[in-house]
């Protein structure tokens, strides 16, 4: 699994950080930062939860 995000459309709601703190952070402007592009199998459920929760639909898992 690989995580990509569209930073331009991120609205800084922080759902990603809440659902997967090991994989996402927010920079000082509140915009999403991917900490780990390639989650381990253990982290995949959290990545999916973040993708589902993101209100601006900017997280993509491939």
């Amino acid at each position: 699994m690989k995580i990509t995000v569209d930073r331009d459309r991120c609205i800084g709601a922080g759902q990603c950080v809440l659902n997967a703190p090991e994989l996402f952070d927010q920079d000082d402007e509140g915009t999403v930062v991917v900490l780990e592009e390639q989650p381990t199998p253990d982290q995949e459920p959290a990545a999916r939860a973040a993708e589902h929760a993101c209100p601006a639909r900017v997280i993509t898992l491939v």
């Binding site: 800084g12 922080g14 915009t31």
Partner: protein, 408 residues
Amino acid sequence: MTITAGHAADASAEPTYPMPRGCPFDPPAELAQLRAEKPISRVRIWDGSSPWLVTRYDDVRSLLADRRVSSDAYRPGYPAQSPGILARRRNSTSFITMDDPEHARYRKMVISDFTVRRTESLRPLITKIVDDLLDEMERGPRPTDLVEAFALPLPSMVICQMLGVPYKDHDFFQMHSRAILDITMDPAETVRASDELRDYLTGLMAEKEAEPTDDILGRLAQRYVLTGELSRDDAVSMALLLLVAGHETTANMIGFGTLTLLQNPEQAAEVRDGDPAVVNRAVEELLRLLTVVHTGRRRVALDDIEIGGVTIRAGEGIIAATESANRDAAAFPAPDELDIHRESNHHLAFGFGVHQCLGQPLARLELQIAYPALLRRFPELRVAVPVDDIRYRDKMVVYGVQALPVSW
């Protein structure tokens, strides 16, 4: 009477929205029926128009995330909550009723103050405010109104501190907030309350332009108003949004949430024990079950949208009923029950899409601290009146209890 094209010929068959509640703890029963039978259907609202009411979880989520819907209260077809709220939104237009890219431009000016990490740094401050309020409550008379003593002052003090608004003025802005959130209020009254709040905040912004302060409004003044990126008028609209949204919502979650916990003593006992994982889940569950921002997110279609076998035409109003979506059994098994252990609780109490609540990390933190602290301080906390005597905020944009007399 003329029947406009496109509207159902038999308009009288359309249910009126919002419907009155039966049980004060649950959304109107008609919503469950609509979810089952006519999940996307026209309803009649106060101005005689017939927007689409969307009641299922999946549909509400997908519409709120759809870039073809607008939150712009100036657009024809926008299904406003009440004449007063429409008048106020036009009187004080902030990013909650704008579309991108404008919405994003304004929202970005304040996001950094509401990130998960930034909010977490407020934990000591919030804990201190909670402890002080509980000390005072403990010293005070019994019974006491939990709303006045705790639920309202907590978020009010926190948002004042963050914004740089003097808390000593709370009587003034709490009274005016109440007026602008009341859907029965005469539009002239709503606009007057809005104008008075704006005058107050305009004076405050002017002070912060002259003298830098280390708070949200101070930073807005220095970084954006003085550089010409933001007019003082727009800064005042933003300040008003943050001030009102920042205390009424959380206050009602504390009051109504406490009542709900007291009705479910076993689950309350678990919250009292304070295991953070349990408390966090309990807060999400209360947010879902109570959905205090309860009369639907209001939108208007920018384009024709096909959804659930229905075509919503460009220009038609949409009410995305999050209070119904959060009770959809397809998303939440046994949706009408409080279950603080519910897993993967992706509720819509904070909305969805680009307007999803800016203050949610703050609201969560306040609730996560407030419930266990209150229940620990007063293990014998109980409602001091017959439950049938409790009055609810039926006519307010934010639902909850009007007062909650408690004893211990």
